[in-house]
């Protein structure tokens, strides 16, 4: 492995996670940082750090030519994009390939196929993967007919959106015309492509996703599912593995469906196939595929014992998967809380600033992935994630009590954080009873404010 040198094109906790995985493999690292990130933990851990641009991410972390140039000029053989930023850009994968740099992720073609949500939906349909009723409509008349057919409420989604961006909920036929034209023009201006499609709206659903992995030798496997229903504005707040609310039958259907999609794409690297689970009807429907390492990957690592980032690196270097499907077992339960520098008492306003105190608890069954250290100046330019607290237990109740205790003992001073919210969620009877669906948190926050 020592012949490889990896360029890390990201920041924050995931940069540290990747640097650590490389270090354990004996692989040298170069970290590209913005001018605002020269004193981050990642910059201390990397073998070399280069300043790729100013604080503004469009001129640094989001500049494809700059990142590739920096990787080449520093003698790197591979580039890890992390999550967010450029991780799902086919252009980056292509430019890496053209310049002999291994892109640590799927191919440009796979990124393209999955970036188009309508194409991904059609692929899922062709494979018999369960799907919410819906489809493409070229004109308003077609959209009206389709909406009548699948029944209101419907969601209008942008083909090139994702993660909740570019979506419009339409409750009645009277609202469709306006929502349709607004959604198309918003999609056009936000994603450069006004293609939208319709889907039946599932009001009460759990978010469930399957971790898949594939190597360049045709081996593919899934590593079980995660549940990420605790969300605010489509941003995940708490994730867990496995999903305790699934029947054995539905779990099997879920895993098989995810693998079918991965197999059809000859998928290479880490990927996540997302589904909604209609709790009342006990019905799964495919959502989208995220072709990258996920923020919530540690919960899968906790219950399977597989180091996903290590596997992802080895696969990129051409190694075969170190395990087969039959070797994958899920034991125990893991819960991850995303700690963010946001003030839940002030409408989640970001709260950057000097971190005066950062004392994660240190006991058994815990993991903290973070780039924060005491004295660190949390910058205002990027996302608010400070770290992830992962609790592991023999079953769900055990895992819940671990994270609750850990949240109570976690000391942070300086930026205001969402710790009180995480405590309220994990201490809530609905969370303990595992009845939470994707709209639950918004309701719970409103209640806390007005009730």
């Amino acid at each position: 492995m020592s012949s490889h040198r990896v360029f890390v094109a990201n920041r924050g906790e995931i940069a540290v996670r990747i640097l650590d995985a490389c270090a354990r493999l004996g692989v040298e690292t170069v970290l590209g940082v913005s001018a605002a990130d020269t004193d981050t933990l990642g910059a201390r851990r990397a073998d070399r750090t280069v300043v790729i641009g100013p604080a503004r991410s469009t001129d640094s972390y989001l500049s494809i030519p700059t990142v590739v140039h920096a990787a080449i000029a520093t003698g790197c053989t591979a580039l890890h994009p992390g999550y967010g930023f450029l991780s799902e850009q086919p252009e980056l994968a292509r430019l890496c390939a053209e310049n002999g740099i291994i892109f640590i992720g799927p191919t440009a073609e796979q990124l393209e196929a999955l970036g188009d949500k309508l194409r991904a939906r059609e692929l899922a349909a062709s494979l018999g993967v369960p799907l919410a009723p819906g489809g493409e409509a070229d004109t308003l008349t077609e959209a009206q007919a389709l909406a009548e057919q699948i029944g209101y409420p419907v969601l209008i989604k942008a083909a090139h959106g994702g993660g909740g961006r570019g979506m419009k909920l339409v409750e009645t036929a009277a609202d469709l015309e306006n929502a349709w034209s607004v959604a198309s023009s918003e999609a056009e201006s936000a994603f450069g492509d006004g293609t939208v499609f319709l889907e039946s709206y599932i009001r009460d659903a759990k978010h469930i996703e399957v971790q898949v992995i594939g190597d360049a030798h045709g081996h593919r496997a899934h590593l079980g599912e995660r549940e990420c229903s605790v969300q605010r504005r489509y941003q995940k707040v708490i994730e867990e593995a496995p999903c305790a609310a699934l029947s054995a039958e539905n779990r099997q259907l879920l895993h098989e469906s995810a693998l079918r999609i991965a197999n059809a794409l000859d998928y290479v690297s880490l990927g996540t196939v997302e589904f909604l689970y209609d709790v009342q009807r006990e019905r799964l429907s495919f959502l989208e595929v995220n072709p990258r390492v996920q923020v919530e990957h540690p919960v899968t690592e906790a219950v399977t014992g597989v180091d996903l980032v290590r596997e992802q690196l080895l696969i990129a270097f051409g190694e075969p998967l170190s395990f087969e499907q039959a070797d994958v077992t899920v034991s125990g339960h893991a819960i991850e809380c995303r700690i963010t520098a946001q003030d839940p008492d002030a409408d989640f306003q970001p709260s950057p600033g000097r971190v005066i105190r950062w004392r994660p608890p240190a006991t058994g069954g815990l993991r903290v992935d973070s780039h924060i250290y005491e004295g660190y100046l949390f910058p205002p330019y990027y996302d608010a994630l400070m770290g992830k607290l992962i609790g592991f237990g023999s079953d769900r109740d055990d895992a819940v009590s671990r994270v609750r205790q850990a949240l109570d003992r976690f000391e942070i001073a300086g930026p205001r954080t969402n710790l009180p919210l995480l405590q309220a969620i994990t201490g809530h009877p609905d969370f303990a009873n595992n009845t939470v669906t994707t709209h639950w948190l918004e309701g719970m926050i409103k209640e806390a404010v007005h009730g």
Binding site: D39, V51, P54, R354, Y381, A384
Partner: protein, 170 residues
């Protein structure tokens, strides 16, 4: 509403270059208020003036001074492309990361040498990013007193390239 960090950063960066004491922006339920000059009541995690300066770059270039120590919205670091004064000399820094070329074409004479007289619009070098050539101009009329980089090496964003002693008239 959500405050977009990046938008906020752009706001602050833009404001930094303007002369104001009180700025108020309202749109829908978004309200951004920035004051500077004079004491400002700040919550505990306030950015202290000492923390504002960018950390030294590998070239040991003194960081750009913080624009306004009393500013409530003092940003982390400043535009690294802004010339930095040291002992009356102007340091020309790399506006972006790339490979630096000191001559217009391989084998040709360099744009400038130590002792060359330059005008503000004179070309000093090229910074190449994935075959895209970006010309770096002097920005100040004067005499080149130092060249900090070698032809063909990687320069980072904000790295010192040249020193220029400005013309007395400038």
């Amino acid at each position: 509403m959500d405050i977009d960090f990046e938008e906020l950063a752009i706001f602050i960066e833009t404001l930094e270059n303007t002369d104001f004491t009180h700025f108020l922006y309202e749109k829908g339920d978004v309200r951004i208020e920035v004051r500077r000059g004079g004491a400002v009541d700040m919550p505990a995690p306030a950015v202290s003036p000492n923390s504002v300066a960018a950390p030294p770059s590998p070239s040991a270039l003194p960081a750009a001074p913080a624009p306004t120590p009393a500013s409530a919205a003092a940003p982390v670091g400043t535009a690294a492309t802004a010339p930095v004064h040291t002992d009356g000399e102007v340091v020309v820094t790399a506006p972006l990361l790339g490979t630096v070329y000191l001559a217009p074409k391989p084998g040709e004479a360099p744009f400038v040498e130590i002792g060359s007289a330059v005008l503000a619009e004179s070309s000093l070098c090229i910074v190449e990013v994935m075959k895209l050539m970006n010309t770096v101009h002097a920005g100040t009329g004067g005499v080149v007193t130092a060249i900090h980089v070698r032809d063909g090496e990687l320069v980072e964003h904000g790295q010192a390239l040249f020193n220029i002693r400005p013309d007395a008239a400038a």
